[in-house]
Subunit: 407 residues, 2 copies
């Protein structure tokens, strides 16, 4: 059994065939959740699952579960999966890899005629991306009890279509009852540069960074750039620029994967020769520890006072979202590390900076993730790329980690 390997060529071909659904001219994928493209991807996955003799179920939020029975029906299944939906300008691997890797593991076990004690499942979670409907990680969030089903079903897209109507219109409002998972493994491209930068094949994911998101509004005073002397200005963009640098300084000053980002900024009136009177901007901090997040926010609030005084502006900082730090199950993380080690792949512990379905599933089942490198760390982009070798390596780790829990 230790010699067992997945079929990397079949995995790659499956990913490439799946990527034709919603393919974009630049080589990416546009497969927004609960659209016709999403339906086509779901139907291809379901067909392949049935061809692999798996039993396919769909739950009330459209999550799909493709099950391969185990010898002991009393055991909860060991699940593997991710999502089939994409960003509007997404890539071929984000999400799709985790689902196809799970399917490849079961095909491999079929080929080898290997039975497991616990059942194995491949899961495709609905609407991980949150591009069409919010909240993000909707299907796994409902599964884990993070979101109330009724509330989620009422959410609308820009065309005022509800999640409930969209589920019905593509035929994926299912009725499978909730069930417990014995374990959950999610294989995913890293979506960051660390593995590539350190020439590492397997990222053994410890958990996910906590996140605190803020909206900042800086109010100064519009003024003509020509007639207004420097000393009489209340320039909101000067204050905003200081705030950007302060967020960066704070992130660099703290340990434990501290990250600080200003990703969006709107300047008003945004005219070349008018001193900006208002700037709206996002601020977010990420860290592995809640107490460090608190210290980062405190440091920022302290800086705001001097920026306000020195730039003669007012700054309103409002917290809009909080994701607590997530720590995966040590035994599950150990199973991933051991599998990577036994297979001889270079590996390193890593913490996910982004959210994943696994972060919600971790609340109701022992969970771990496997990262593989992606080219340039680029994701959520049509040029997102990964090598067949790395994808196969991650899938072999998934195979052996899952077997260690299910056999």
């Amino acid at each position: 059994m230790q010699q067992l390997r997945i079929n990397g060529e079949r995995l790659w071909q499956s990913l490439m065939e799946l990527a034709r659904i919603g393919a974009t001219p630049k080589g990416g994928v546009k497969r927004l959740t609960l659209t016709d493209a999403d339906r086509a991807a779901r139907e291809l996955f379901a067909r392949w699952a049935r061809e692999a003799a798996l039993e396919v179920e769909v739950d009330v939020i459209g999550n799909m579960f493709a099950r391969r029975a185990g010898r002991d029906p009393s055991l909860p299944p060991v699940a593997m999966g991710s999502h089939l939906d994409s960003q509007p300008s997404g890539g071929k691997f984000d999400g799709a890899y985790g689902v196809m890797a799970g399917l490849e593991v079961l095909r491999t076990l079929n080929d080898a005629g290997i039975e497991t004690r616990a059942a194995l499942e491949v899961v495709s979670w609905t609407n991980e991306e949150g591009s069409r409907f919010t909240p993000v990680m909707m299907g796994s969030g409902v599964f884990a009890g993070v979101f109330r089903l009724g509330h989620v079903l009422e959410q609308k897209d820009l065309d005022q279509t509800t999640v409930e109507d969209a589920l019905r219109s593509i035929g994926y409002a299912g009725d499978a009852p909730p069930h417990r998972l014995g374990a959950y493994f999610e294989a995913h491209i890293e979506q960051g540069p660390v593995l590539e930068d350190t020439k590492t094949t397997i990222g053994v994911v410890q958990g996910a960074l906590g996140q605190r998101w803020f909206d900042a509004v800086i109010t100064g005073q519009d003024a003509h750039a020509g007639p207004t002397p420097m000393e009489l200005r209340k320039d909101a963009l000067i204050a905003a620029s200081r705030l950007v640098l302060e967020v960066n300084r704070i992130a660099l000053a703290f340990p434990d994967y501290a990250r600080g980002t200003v990703g969006s900024m709107q300047v008003k009136p945004n005219s070349r020769n008018v001193v900006p009177g208002e700037v709206r901007m996002s601020v977010e901090f990420r860290n592995q520890k809640d107490e460090t997040l608190r210290a980062m926010v405190a440091a920022l609030r302290q800086s705001l006072k001097s920026i306000e005084a020195e730039c003669r502006v007012e700054i309103d900082l409002a917290e809009v979202t909080y994701f607590p730090p997530c720590h995966f199950d040590p035994a599950m993380v150990g199973a991933v590390r051991d599998a990577a080690g036994a297979l001889g792949y270079t590996r390193r512990d890593i913490v996910s900076g982004a959210g994943h379905d696994a972060v919600y599933v971790a609340r109701v089942a022992p969970t771990a993730m496997i990262f593989v490198p992606c080219e340039g760390g680029i994701s959520h982009n049509e040029i997102e790329n990964a090598t067949p070798q790395d994808l196969a390596a991650g899938c072999n780790v998934l195979l052996h980690a899952a077997l260690s829990r299910a056999a």
Copy 2:
């Protein structure tokens, strides 16, 4: 004659009646050049001019000249004026004040039965604002030979209407031949806070700051804010923020009315959890002296190198516009200063930070400007405001300065 004063009440009423044309709900004016609102304002001005026995002419670019003959037809006229067009969300006084003040001067001379040696003219220049058609200060620029007429007539607005068609459609494509001006005075609200801040009634305008405008493009690398460690980022917004602060630092470090402004900024992709890969921004410097402007630009270019290296981005800085510093005619400036002194108004020398029609007219005729305070220094805004007393004071200065040249 030294006792002669304009009728401040009549001036105010004329401004208020004119402001009804294109009036906005918030008390401002939307009177884009060569629109129906502009035509209505022009026709009101022409009617008032004829009622004051003035001869009205329109030239090829729609500039209007309302002339009161002098005793010596061989002398070139002494002109006063400004513009009747407004910004999309403009105020009641920017431009309109200079035209109505000129008209009030001639009404006052009519009432007092005073003849002048040189003719007097009230001028309304076409499209000072540049909001609908570029370039700004179009009519005075054509008059002064700065722009080629054929080129200007071909310019299009967003609806693809040309200046030529717009002039014809409102009936203001005239045929008055070019003529020489013996002098040009322009009364204007300051559009800045200096007079109000120093409790001064009359600004004796020395000239206008030179301006150098740039477009900067900062290219870094988009990256997910979550998975991308701080040290692997190429954050274009960090670099942009440093550039904003550098422009400010340089402006504060130089003498002679140095100003530096970043008024507009576009962040891409401008998403909360994506490290910005590109920022486009404006940069402009203003100063009274060309050599100081050069030194400011050199200081900025020097800073760019370290910002590029430290933020691992590329910065492209392209100059897009240059207005040389303008120095008004010393004798004309003296006439304004003397008139303000004789009238007993508080006064101070001031340099215009913004462009005005007078800056172009100064190239072909002895020119000066008179500034009066505006509330909070606010202009290009519907809440733009000025007091009847200050407007009357500026008009009295205009009266006596013009008389000193024409009598």
